[in-house]
């Protein structure tokens, strides 16, 4: 067989044999693309459903089969913002805790990453792995001592305690991320700056900062997301004054009867900052979440 096809009419038969294969592959490609779309839609469906339900009336939200095309209303949001306890204090608490802890994390991690990448200290890998190992310790083991400490110092229900904890929670991630971004700074640029007699602060500001600014932004967004999402410690360490948005969400469901639209509105409002931050950092999300090891 093969000897026959390998002789004179080769181009023709190959063409003939090649085309169906190619066609079949194109056909498969269409199906695979369709599959990708179906999977994507399935994964985003709960989010879409949450948003859609939040714009329905409570009666339409609790129907079976689902009333997809029910009239749109803002009642769920109205009820969430002005129905019972105001969500603004918890939202502001979350914002304070996330933003302030993120700023402290950046202030601590940037110089630390500098000392671990650009001018590495001795045994810098050990230090780096010390930071990572703290991330592996179960946080629940630190819960009780932190609670007792807060009780004795009167810091219970104080947002600064959460800020302290969120800083320690995110610092290892930030150090790893920053190290990976800083190691992208070309060494020649640093040497040139040093030749010009620039000191540490000046080098940081004028040589390193411009190169790593996108990285700093991504680190900040990821630290913000993790702090904003945190539930366990916020629940144990805060009460009415320093309550954060996730805690508010859990306490808000229990009592009410027909609440699905309102719940979806609440869940969407609380998730909105994370959705925005996450999509803004989309390109750097992998690098951040993999602690800088995947580029």
């Amino acid at each position: 067989m093969s000897t026959v096809t390998d002789t004179a009419p080769v181009p023709a038969t190959r063409d003939d044999a090649g085309r169906p294969v190619k066609k079949r592959r194109e056909g498969a490609n269409v199906w695979l693309s369709l599959l990708a779309w179906v999977v994507g839609i399935l994964f985003v469906l709960p989010v879409v459903w949450m948003v859609l339900t939040s714009f329905h009336s409570e009666a339409d939200a609790a129907t079976n089969p689902p009333a997809v095309f029910a009239p749109i209303t803002l009642d769920g949001y109205r009820e969430f913002f002005s129905g019972g306890a105001s969500p603004w204090p918890p939202l502001l608490n979350s914002l304070t805790a996330s933003v302030v802890s993120t700023i402290i994390v950046l202030l601590l991690s940037l110089p630390a990453a500098y000392a671990l990448s650009i001018k590495p200290v001795r045994k810098w890998t050990d230090t780096l792995f010390f930071f990572l190992s703290t991330k592996m310790l179960p946080v629940v083991a630190g819960l009780l001592p932190l609670y007792l400490f807060a009780q004795y110092t009167g810091l219970l229900d104080n947002i600064w305690l959460l800020i302290l904890f969120y800083t320690s929670m995110n610092l290892p991630i930030a150090v790893w991320m920053m190290r990976s971004f800083l190691s992208e700074v070309p060494v020649e640029m640093l040497e040139a700056a040093q030749m010009d007699g620039a000191n540490l602060v000046k080098t940081l500001r004028s040589v390193i900062a411009p190169v790593v600014t996108p990285g700093i932004a991504a680190t900040a967004l990821i630290c913000f997301i993790f702090s904003w999402n945190e539930l366990l410690f916020a629940r144990v360490l805060t009460a009415t004054v320093a309550e954060t948005a996730p805690v508010f969400l859990t306490s808000f469901v229990t009592s009410q009867g027909l609440f699905l639209a309102q719940l979806c509105a609440a869940a969407f409002v609380v998730s909105l900052p994370v959705l925005i931050a996450g999509f803004a950092a989309q390109d750097k999300l992998v690098q951040g979440l993999s602690l800088g090891s995947v580029k």
């Binding site: 709960p46 110089p111 629940v140 009780l144 610092l171 190691s183 366990l232 996730p246 602690l291 090891s293």
Partner: protein, 317 residues
């Protein structure tokens, strides 16, 4: 690079005064110290406190009976059926979520590693679950999806059965019927995007010319996948499994929200939270925490070895 630089400085200045060397070493260390000291104080001191409390009789309900307990708390932890169940639940939950989301993530990453219309849109849709606040996601799954009366799942069943003219669709009570799976599925939904992103990054780092060469040599898709793509992805799979495990072992939000730890879904973080927050038994909660930390250290040692091997490959610095 740096080692070379160090050598040359040593050679050019044969005997730098010891004090100067010390000063420069400290100058190098200085930027690191604030972060390092902060981490040691905030993460290591509490653990020492936990260790001390774990040997104490300390229940907030009986403040007068505080004292030294020896190994009593540990004995109670090891003989407690709930704790043993919690260990098992934690393993099932973590392994289940990590494995399923890795496999799904791999499949989806392969689907997205091709050019097609709307690839960016599908990628964005895929990321969305990861960007919903975990508590909010758990609440949505519990009330808007799993609810037996008006949840989307049973609603969809009613709709599909209605299409075939049946008005008697199955309406399972998802959470009561399969509580652990209910928690697992909601977490798989949140973590698959994470795995997909890591694996997609891995796929895009494949040496395409080698694969093209293999294809010209007549290797089919499966052969290429098995003997080229998969080995290349191995370290990314390991990384995804490791990071996923770090986060999912500690999961509290989903268990707390969807089942409140009932129906055999209480994992270790939830159980310890309960001993501490509801039973106020500080001694026993600390002993449980110490046991969990020791267990974690054993597992983490292996895990860290994986990361560090990855890390050495990556950075030739």
């Amino acid at each position: 690079m740096t080692s070379v630089a160090e050598k040359t400085t040593v050679e050019s200045a044969p005997e730098p005064p010891a004090t100067a060397r010390k000063v420069s070493a400290w100058a190098r260390r200085a930027p690191l110290l604030p972060a390092l000291v902060f981490m040691i104080i905030v993460t290591q001191l509490p653990f020492v406190a936990t260790l001390v409390i774990s040997f104490m009789d300390w229940n907030a309900y009986y403040p007068d009976e505080r004292g030294f307990a020896g190994f009593d708390n540990f004995v109670r932890v090891f003989t407690d059926v709930n704790m043993r169940d919690a260990v098992w639940t934690t393993i099932l939950l973590t392994v289940g979520v990590v494995l399923i989301s890795l496999l799904l993530g791999l499949g989806i990453a392969l689907l997205l590693d091709r050019k097609f219309r709307g690839r960016g849109a599908v990628r964005t849709m895929m990321i969305a679950p990861f960007l919903v606040v975990p508590v909010a996601a758990a609440l949505i799954w519990k009330h808007a999806l799993y609810n037996p009366e008006y949840g989307l799942f049973n609603g969809a069943l009613t709709w599909v059965w209605g299409l075939f003219g049946s008005d008697n669709p199955p309406q399972p009570d998802w959470i009561s019927n399969m509580p652990l799976w209910a928690v697992i599925f909601s977490l798989v939904w949140q973590w698959t995007p994470f795995m997909m992103l890591i694996l997609l990054a891995g796929l895009q780092g494949r040496p395409l010319d080698v694969i093209e060469a293999a294809r010209i040599d007549g290797a089919n898709g499966w052969q290429i996948f098995r003997s080229m793509t998969l080995p290349h992805l191995r370290q990314y799979l390991e990384l995804g499994a490791l990071l996923g495990s770090i986060y999912i072992v500690q999961n509290f939000d989903a268990v707390f929200t969807i089942t409140s730890g009932g129906l055999g879904t209480a994992n270790l973080p939830y159980t310890i939270y309960q001993i501490f927050y509801q039973a106020h038994d500080y001694g026993r909660a600390s002993a449980a925490a110490v046991v969990v930390v020791i267990g974690t250290i054993i597992i983490a040692t292996f895990a860290l070895r994986t990361v560090s091997s990855l890390f050495k490959e990556e950075s030739g610095r």
